[in-house]
């Protein structure tokens, strides 16, 4: 009896979590797959199976490759830079200094703000005509007339990426901070006795020990950023002419502005496959390294 319980015990421990995700995530995902293979009317009613028609339509659309490219640039830039900057910030905040508590609370701010509001504020700051950045710089005497901070679609996209980095840094910082907390001081003391300098300690102790928590948070970060919607939607809605669209804003327009929910579902399945492949490669390579 006891042995039998031992066998099923782990499954009882994970059961609540499995149930939660199965009901509220897996079933809706199944529905997306079904929609991606269905003909759907503009009002959103399913009118039967249509094979790969939606995928064909989406992949043949001239804007799709541009949107995909944007998505990759967006994800790589936001995740890469926010991981780097967030890591540095965590190292800084891990020092003992007066006011550390305040500094840590301040760093939480961008995270504690709803993304839509955060993005609205940024839109407000960089606006050419009434933006506060121009006003501030003019008052400080740094510039003498309003600068157009967003002369091209590329400039807009760069600002959106900056905003994305700004709101993602706290997430990385606190993940790293919690990892740093669990490093035994003894390692550093031993290294100091051995005559290691700051950078040697950084690369030989800190980074290897923080890496496990950073690996997972980076994978999740890639997923969250890839699927991030509010920043781009609030600042440009993908304008002009899809130049700043990512897959998510693009499919949102397809689904809710153009009444093409089948196409939108197909786009999200494609996005999922891309993420799935990338994440699998990344995880496998990282886990392999970990085993060596």
């Amino acid at each position: 009896m006891k042995k039998k319980f031992r066998g099923i015990e782990p499954y009882l421990w994970i059961l609540p979590s499995v149930l939660l995700m199965a009901v509220f995530i897996v079933i809706p995902i199944g529905f997306v797959f079904r929609m991606s293979f269905s003909k759907i009317s503009k009002a959103g009613l399913i009118k039967g199976f249509c094979g790969f028609d939606n995928f064909h339509k989406v992949l043949n659309s001239p804007v799709f490759s541009m949107v995909l490219k944007n998505t990759i640039v967006w994800t790589v830039a936001v995740v890469g830079l926010s991981t780097l900057l967030g890591f540095i910030l965590a190292i800084i905040l891990n020092n003992e200094f007066k006011g550390r508590k305040i500094a840590r609370a301040v760093v939480v701010f961008p995270w504690a703000t709803t993304l839509i509001v955060q993005a609205s504020i940024w839109k407000f700051i960089i606006d050419t005509d009434y933006g506060t950045l121009n006003t501030l710089l003019m008052k400080l005497g740094i510039i003498d007339h309003a600068i157009n901070w967003t002369p091209t679609a590329g400039a807009y996209f760069a600002w959106e990426i900056a905003c994305g980095i700004f709101v993602t840094i706290p997430f990385v910082t606190f993940t790293v901070l919690s990892g740093l907390q669990s490093i035994d001081e003894g390692f550093y003391e031993a290294a100091t006795v051995d005559g290691a300098n700051y950078w040697q300690k950084m690369f030989q102790i800190t980074i290897p020990l923080v890496r496990p928590s950073l690996t997972v948070s980076t994978v999740l970060n890639i997923i969250y950023v890839f699927n991030s919607f509010p920043i781009i939607w609030t600042i440009t809605k993908g304008d002009p002419a899809n130049r700043t669209d990512t897959l998510v804003t693009y499919l949102y327009k397809l689904a809710f502005y153009n009444g093409k929910q089948g196409d939108a579902a197909a786009v999200s399945v494609i996005g999922f496959l891309i993420l799935f492949i990338c994440a699998s490669i990344y995880m496998v390579s990282v886990l392999k390294k970990g085993d060596d």
Partner: protein, 281 residues
């Protein structure tokens, strides 16, 4: 020799403070803008001769938002949703992470992979399916429904982070406690959780903030004003004829307060929770 060393120390100290101050200034700049805008009239916000500080600070804007919209009710709903989601996410996530770090079973890796894969669709994409599930459970237009959704969407981070934290903690003390007659649940609560506080606090903050800021699902599920959270509720200032920036920004300032209070309250657990307990090398 001694002298230069302490000089060097002072310089690096000053440098540290400088960096921290610059980071804080950059981080706070958008909030400075928010506050200033919240105190301006719309005419001043868009005036040709832009101002940094409001010329006539309209302090009443900060009070008016409470009567222009049922802010108190929005705030209460947000706290219920975020608090409930955090609690539920932890109640499901901690046991799962415990099993993953302390037991060996078939399908362990598959489960870990499944947890990640479950995150790969944006909630925006899943709206229609989520609504369908909620309809069959009679949880549309209900705070409980939002708690389930937010808890589910935050399982991945909670489980992975907690699993990592638990694995970095040696199981020797729990084993000793088991010999002393504790069962697994007691060992988990009495021995492991206190030691794992930094990881738990990080997961807690993460889930709370995500649930606090969730927008799209709440928007489609909630149909009456009484159950709207802040994120959806403050949309009242974002109309077809006009966007009332001053109120929108004033309301969003209030929205930050509970999160910062929560953070400051539990921040000390982020530091030094690991003074006791063996750390695996």
């Amino acid at each position: 020799m001694e002298h230069t060393k302490s000089n060097k120390k002072i310089v690096s100290r000053i440098f540290l403070y400088l960096v921290v101050i610059i980071i804080c200034l950059i981080t706070l700049y958008p909030y400075f803008v928010t506050i200033c805008t919240a105190l301006k009239s719309r005419a001043e916000i868009f005036s040709t001769s832009g101002t940094v500080f409001p010329i006539h600070a309209i302090w009443s804007n900060l009070i008016d938002v409470w009567s222009r919209a049922p802010m108190a009710s929005y705030m209460r709903n947000s706290i219920l949703i975020a608090g409930g989601s955090t609690l539920l996410a932890m109640l499901c996530g901690i046991p799962a992470a415990y099993a993953l770090s302390r037991m060996k079973f078939k399908g362990q890796t598959a489960f870990l992979g499944f947890v990640i894969v479950s995150q790969m669709f944006a909630p925006v994409v899943l709206l229609i399916g989520i609504y369908k599930v909620m309809m069959s459970l009679h949880l549309t237009n209900s705070i409980v429904g939002l708690i389930f959704i937010n808890a589910a969407f935050n399982q991945a981070f909670a489980i992975w982070l907690l699993r990592g934290t638990f694995m970095s903690i040696s199981s020797e003390m729990e084993q000793a406690a088991t010999i002393d007659g504790c069962n697994r649940i007691q060992a988990l609560i009495k021995i492991l959780l206190p030691v794992a506080a930094p990881g738990i606090v990080t997961a807690l903050i993460f889930v709370f903030i995500n649930a606090w800021n969730e927008y799209t699902v709440a928007l489609t599920l909630i149909s009456t004003d009484t159950f709207k959270p802040l994120t959806v509720g403050i949309n009242i200032f974002n109309g077809y004829n006009m966007i009332e920036w001053q109120y929108l920004f004033a309301a969003s300032l209030y929205a930050i307060v509970p999160v910062v209070i929560l953070f400051v309250g539990i921040e000390k657990n982020l530091v030094g929770g690991l003074t006791s307990g063996g750390v695996k090398g």
